[in-house]
Symmetry: C2
Subunit: 252 residues, 2 copies
DNA sequence: TTTCATTGGTACAAGGCTATACCTTTGGCT
DNA sequence: AGCCAAAGGTATAGCCTTGTACCAATGAAA
């Protein structure tokens, strides 16, 4: 105990804490499972579609094929993937089981419990990333192919049914993160959104919420394409506040 | 080479790119070197001071002592650390060699080259993190011990000489990132700032810049403690624009 | 001068991860 | 019916990382 080096009174916070965190958040196998889970939870590979071949996945994740296969095996056992052999085979994303008979927050609370302290951190980090991305995006003269991509994602969310809404919403938000121009922002957002989706998937999606959300999406894209950073940031913040309130409400 | 799965025309961007990045950015040894380098570059352990003992470092980084020792050995060979045995021994941070006889941007350009594409990414990511952190901080009712810590960091930058200014500046910014309330924001900022400092350390610090920077610091802290998120955000963005312009200027 | 707690230095065995090569299955195409 | 390309399945040798135990040096305090 007692003071660390400079120690002008221990303000409760260790000054070295920012850098002295675990170098790895788990072994390669576990992190690989999480990464493949991202592909599924973000809807980057829709239900019924198949993941890239093992060799390609392993190379892109910079992981040995053995380790990747271990990860896929776990997800297969969990009922998330179906693995078929032979040409035209591969790992297919299975439809998510709706094991939330009681629409209340039982399952949600269980998952939130697992996150513990990290829940608040996740919501805050998400806000920083998304609000920042929206602003950068609007300040960046988004046009041409990029503009087309945004409009396409927006149209997809507008015409999506209840079943597919979450996926299209994720695609739109991820597009904004990518169009921010920083791959770090996009990468971190993908990780955070994967966690958020894990929670949101426990909550029933109501048409009124969806409509409200959709109006905000429209205004958000308009602000970005119109080159209005301040407005883009404000709309995004309000948009996220809605989701956060929804989650906190179910957890309270 | 042809389309991926869903492929509505290859817009240049692979839709899976956000999740399919390398699981690990290198082996444990390399990442450990980087992490210890952070402690030094961020000035968390000042020149002349010593790092925590090997066993403690290894445990906090969740790395075997063997691996940690390999990392320290490299930093010792690089002339950044001096390792002494026995009680009251340890790894001491050596003063940085000033091997920039020509004050021009030769060394800077060399290091920027190594970053390549990641330079722009780093600056954008930094902006998102810091501007977001400042806003969260101001919206959070920073008071009591936290307020004291901010004021203390501000006072330290104000009274710091040229030699110690960068370190105190880093401490202030890191404090804001930590007071945002999100450990993820703080952790990511520490990593990014470490990279930025590596570049800044090649640039001579001029008194006019320092004064200007200090006025912004004062206003920033005032906005945070005054609970003015919009203003905190605006001041932080302008503050960062200065640094970015300085770097780009030397690189152009 | 002796003691001893603290800190770095070394050795070894076990487990995890990788690279590489080769085998097996599948289903469209000839 | 048979071929064959693409995909999953398996085996092995080697390196990286870890955990554990023990040795060696240092310098303040008794």
């Amino acid at each position: 105990m007692s003071g660390t080096a400079a120690g002008t009174r221990p303000t409760g916070a260790d000054p070295l804490a920012a850098a002295l965190r675990p170098v790895r958040s788990g072994n390669t196998f576990e992190e690989t499972v999480q990464r493949v889970l991202q592909l599924i939870r973000l809807g980057l590979v829709p239900e019924g579609e198949r993941l890239p071949p093992e060799r390609e996945l392993a190379e892109r994740l910079q992981v040995s094929r053995v380790t990747l296969r271990d990860a896929l095996k776990v997800l297969q056992d969990a009922g998330l993937l179906e693995i078929r052999r032979g040409r035209y085979g591969g790992a297919f994303v299975l439809p998510a089981r709706q094991d939330t008979p009681s629409g209340d927050g039982a399952e949600l609370r269980r998952r939130a419990e697992l996150l513990g302290d990290r829940l608040e951190d996740t919501l805050l980090f998400r806000e920083v990333l998304e609000v920042g991305a929206a602003e950068l995006c609007a300040a960046r003269e988004t046009a041409g192919e990029e503009e087309e991509r945004l409009r396409e994602c927006l149209a997809a969310t507008a015409s999506a049914g209840l079943a597919d809404y979450r996926r299209q919403d994720t695609r739109l938000h991820l597009a904004i993160a990518e169009l921010s121009g920083s791959v770090s922002v996009a990468a971190q957002y993908a990780a955070v959104r994967s966690t958020v989706n894990e929670l949101l998937d426990c909550i029933p999606l109501l048409p009124p919420n969806l409509e409200h959300s959709e109006r905000q999406h429209t205004e958000l894209v308009a602000a970005i394409l119109g080159g209005e950073p301040e407005r883009a940031r404000a709309v995004m913040r309000q948009h996220l506040a809605g989701t956060a309130a929804l989650l906190r409400g179910f957890l309270a």
